[in-house]
């Protein structure tokens, strides 16, 4: 058996793991990273990036179809457009491939040794990797577990040709005529919307009493409205049961009333589970917090020298949280004093329209016992939004009533994902309403709605 030793071993080259390894390499830490598949993890290969590529293609196609239908208010017209999904997917794969190569290059540049294969703990300092060329034993002073998460499978609806996960949905070669989406969370709605725009008849089944349950009703409302416009049927309080006998439909039950949903494909997006099996967690006996690995504010697990970052450590399962944890863990291993001190982890939902949240919602802020002020500005009153046919949605600011410290910023609207940066920055910098109101926001942009929301909270909105 071949044996190598290093100072830091990172298990998993997703956004958390590869950032951790690059940062450790930059700091001169002798680092090895192990990945069984391609660099980039869920996010880059089967998550954020490819889904956004597909969503973009679907949006473009949908616009062309709208123009072809002769209803374009912009005065555009064209003959019936067509889409070759196989080519779309190939284009998307090209982007993924470029980014794969990019990550691999960055790791190399940082002096990180990458090992491809399945890793398994032997003990807290030793990992065996099953590589193409045989078993590789790696001894490390510190280990960062970044094994990520995987889609949850339903027992009665196992993944296969008809029943697909988000990964399967991103690799379809043709647009299914009918698509049933189980789970009205952000992944299901993002993909469901994309396929509706590509021409599928989409039905969404949600077990809870409304879609996007992690957002307040005000934020999900514009999305709900748009789903209706796109002809997507949404059933809430509905349980999916099994495939129909002919395999072309999905049997479901709404409040005890059974019915069948036409479904050439069934997309299951009922959540993701942390990957805590298959890499020898039982050899090192880590404490869990629920389904996740328990960590402290320095990403340390219950075993000395072993850290965990990313989806395997809990909610929110977001790439940028994993990246920040990875960077911090690398610096701690390199001897820097660091601990988790972030005030907010912004979250973006790439539905139509998009939803952004940073910090506390009004209900969460009230729950802490703080008296709050709220300012909300609709895009209907924003000039830039009008010029892009994007008047749905709003920006909402929540601040402390006593000193106007901004506690949370939320938005729903087209392209608001790009506003997430200024939202998070405002919160991390400890901005008060007056700071936002006193910053000139360029005209004409949708970002003006942010400043106006702050004005509104201060009681002197200008444009509403």
């Amino acid at each position: 058996m071949k044996e190598i030793s290093c100072k830091l071993l990172v298990l998993g080259a997703g956004p958390g793991g590869y950032v951790c390894a690059i940062r450790a390499g930059q700091l001169g830490v002798d680092t090895v990273i192990v990945e069984k598949a391609k660099a980039g993890g869920t996010c880059l290969n089967v998550g954020c990036i490819p889904s956004k590529a597909l969503i973009h293609a679907a949006e473009e196609f949908h616009k062309l179809r709208a123009a072809a239908s002769g209803k374009s208010p912009l005065g555009l017209s064209l003959s019936a457009p067509a889409i070759d999904l196989a080519r779309t997917v190939a284009w998307k794969d090209g982007i993924v491939g470029r980014l794969n190569g990019g990550v691999t290059g960055l790791l190399k540049k940082a002096g990180v040794k990458a090992v491809v294969g399945e890793a398994r703990f032997v003990d807290g300092k030793t990992v065996d990797v099953e590589t193409e060329t045989g078993l590789q034993r790696i001894r490390a002073e510190a280990v960062v577990i970044a094994t990520g998460s995987a889609p949850v499978e339903l027992p009665d609806l196992p993944f296969g040709e008809h029943i697909i996960s988000s990964t399967g949905a991103l690799a379809l070669k043709t647009v299914p005529e009918t698509l049933a989406v189980i789970g009205g969370g952000y992944i299901g709605l993002e993909l469901g919307t994309a396929f509706a725009k590509l021409g599928s008849k989409v039905t969404v089944l949600e077990a809870m009493d409304r879609i996007l349950p992690q957002y307040d009703a005000e934020l999900s409302k514009p999305v709900m409205k748009r789903l209706g416009e796109l002809g997507i049927d949404v059933f809430t309080r509905t349980a999916a049961k099994r495939l129909s006998a002919d395999g072309r439909g999905l049997l479901a039950e709404e409040n005890g009333r059974p019915f069948e949903v036409p479904a050439e494909k069934v997309l299951v997006t009922v959540g993701r589970r942390p990957v805590t099996e298959g890499w020898g967690i039982e050899e090192i006996d880590l404490d869990l917090a629920g389904r996740f690995i328990r960590i402290d504010d320095q990403c340390r697990t219950s075993m000395r020298g072993i850290y965990a970052i990313g989806d395997v450590t809990g909610e929110p399962m977001l790439a940028h949280r994993a990246m920040a944890q990875g960077e911090m863990a690398a610096e701690i291993v390199a001897g820097r004093k660091r601990s988790w001190d972030k005030h907010c982890i912004p979250a973006v939902c790439f539905t139509d329209p998009e939803i952004v949240s940073a910090g506390l919602s009004p209900d969460e802020a009230r729950a802490t016992g703080i008296e709050i002020k709220i300012g909300q500005f609709p895009f209907q009153a924003n000039g830039r939004a009008m010029t892009t046919l994007s008047e749905d949605g709003f920006v909402r600011v929540v601040a402390r009533a006593d000193n106007h410290l901004v506690l949370g910023i939320h938005a729903a609207g087209h392209g608001v994902s790009e506003l997430s940066a200024s939202f998070a920055l405002a919160i991390e910098m400890g901005a008060r309403l007056e700071d936002i109101a006193g910053t000139i926001h360029a005209h004409p942009t949708q970002s003006e709605a942010f400043q106006e929301a702050a004005f509104k909270a201060l009681g002197h909105a200008l444009h509403v």
């Binding site: 005000e218 005030h343 002020k373 909402r396 400890g430």
Partner: protein, 426 residues
């Protein structure tokens, strides 16, 4: 949508105003009929104010600690009643306009203008708890300041922020570092603490503060401490407790002291009095209403055993227990917390040799019980172990002379040391 204005109810006879001590609801909260909205305090009794209607809280008329006049608007509640139905009480226009400018008013996109459905609020699932949304514990500083602090080993919770909203600036950090603040030493685990917690003095605590200021600033106290041999009384008490009937409460020293007080007061009525110094009148009371200083979770209260002169020792004990429980659970009524003519304070359980009790204004005397301890006492031929207790009593020196005070305490001593005398008629 109708609107109901709840005014501060008449919470006690002759009470013109009450202090708001707690809100049980927040702005925007749904309320049901009979749900408690607020707690107000008059004198020493706390009264809970229930909602007479169901609906949603639109406006809160006072802040905790405010004194609200009886009949002043306290809460405005949006009710499900139709707009056509006149609200039970209309409000002045100016007030209505104030309310429209409440900071929580939110501009909603026009399609959201539909009247909110109250049921929707209840059926909506609570948002999934997210990672540590506790903003209060994190020091407010920009990421760059946080990084510098980490690198310098500074715990930002110890740095005072001078920026907007208490934000810690680079200058604040520089100042902290230049003062030679040692990087938080992990070696000793001892760190400087500079936090100052602000606690608003409200409710019972404010009453206590006012009362103590009044008592000590108005009344020139004379405190007299004497030791009592409690051996005989303790023997008697043990016997009575052993042989008591099932329905009789366990006796402490206090019922004996109460009966001894009654007996002494009969001979020296001057100590069972209230002094109206404004009018220059002393009211000597025939009734002996004994206040019992009682520690409750909220603070010191003084429930009153009324007409101790008409109660036997078992009755005194039972009433004492009942009142102490009521005071501790906060269910004592206003009547049970006022009207004492003399007060007993007992810190004996905690130890202490002597105390300087503060007179419960406008009374003129207070008797403080200290700890009973077994001490060697010379009986003329040898040291014998005796149960000794100090009694620390304060008197209003304006109306009670030292001689009278001492006479009073000496008489108490005689009764307590020969407890049979407590029970002798006449």
């Amino acid at each position: 949508m109708g609107e109901f204005i709840l005014k501060m109810p008449d919470v006690g006879e002759g009470v013109a105003e009450a202090e708001l001590v707690e809100w049980h609801v927040k702005l925007g909260d749904p309320v049901r009929e009979d749900m408690v909205l607020a707690a107000v305090m008059t004198d020493k009794a706390t009264v809970e104010i229930p909602s007479p209607v169901s609906g949603k809280v639109l406006w809160l008329g006072a802040e905790v600690g405010d004194t609200v006049a009886v009949k002043a608007p306290l809460v405005r509640i949006e009710t499900a009643a139709e707009a056509g139905e006149p609200p039970p009480d209309s409000i002045p226009q100016a007030l209505a306009e104030d309310v429209l400018e409440e900071p929580v008013a939110v501009s909603a996109p026009p399609e959201a203008k539909a009247p909110p459905k109250p049921e929707a609020i209840e059926t909506r699932p609570a948002p999934a708890p997210r990672e540590a949304p506790d903003v209060s514990k994190k020091p407010l500083a920009s990421p760059a300041v946080r990084l510098r602090a980490k690198d310098s080993g500074v715990d930002l919770r110890q740095v005072t922020g001078t920026g907007p909203a208490g934000r810690i600036t680079h200058d604040d950090l520089d100042l902290f570092l230049s003062r030679g603040a040692q990087p938080a030493p992990a070696i000793t685990g001892l760190v400087r603490k500079t936090a100052v917690e602000e606690i608003k003095v409200t409710g019972l605590r404010r009453r206590i503060a006012e009362k103590m200021t009044l008592s000590t600033s108005r009344i020139p106290h004379i405190t007299y401490v004497e030791e009592m041999d409690m051996t005989a009384l303790e023997d008697l008490r043990a016997t009575m407790n052993r042989d008591r009937k099932p329905d009789q409460p366990k006796l402490t020293v206090l019922p004996f002291l109460m009966r001894a007080l009654v007996k002494t007061i009969a001979e020296q009525p001057g100590v069972n009095a209230t002094f109206d110094d404004g009018a220059g009148v002393i009211h000597r009371h025939a009734a002996v209403h004994i206040g019992i200083a009682t520690q409750t979770p909220a603070g010191l209260t003084v429930p009153v055993v009324r007409h101790a002169e008409a109660r036997g020792i078992w009755d005194c004990a039972a009433e004492l227990n009942r009142l102490a429980d009521a005071a501790r659970t906060g269910t004592a009524t206003r009547d049970e917390l006022t009207g004492s003519t003399i007060t007993i304070s007992s810190l004996g359980a905690l130890g202490g040799i002597a105390s300087t009790p503060v007179i419960n204004h406008p009374e003129v005397a207070i008797v403080g019980v200290n700890k009973i301890a077994i001490r060697p006492v010379w009986d003329g031929t040898q040291f014998v172990p005796r149960k000794i207790m100090n009694l620390s009593s304060s008197f209003d020196h304006r109306v009670i002379d030292g001689w009278d005070a001492a006479t009073f305490v000496q008489r108490l001593k005689t009764l307590l040391e020969t407890p049979a005398l407590i029970f002798v008629e006449g």
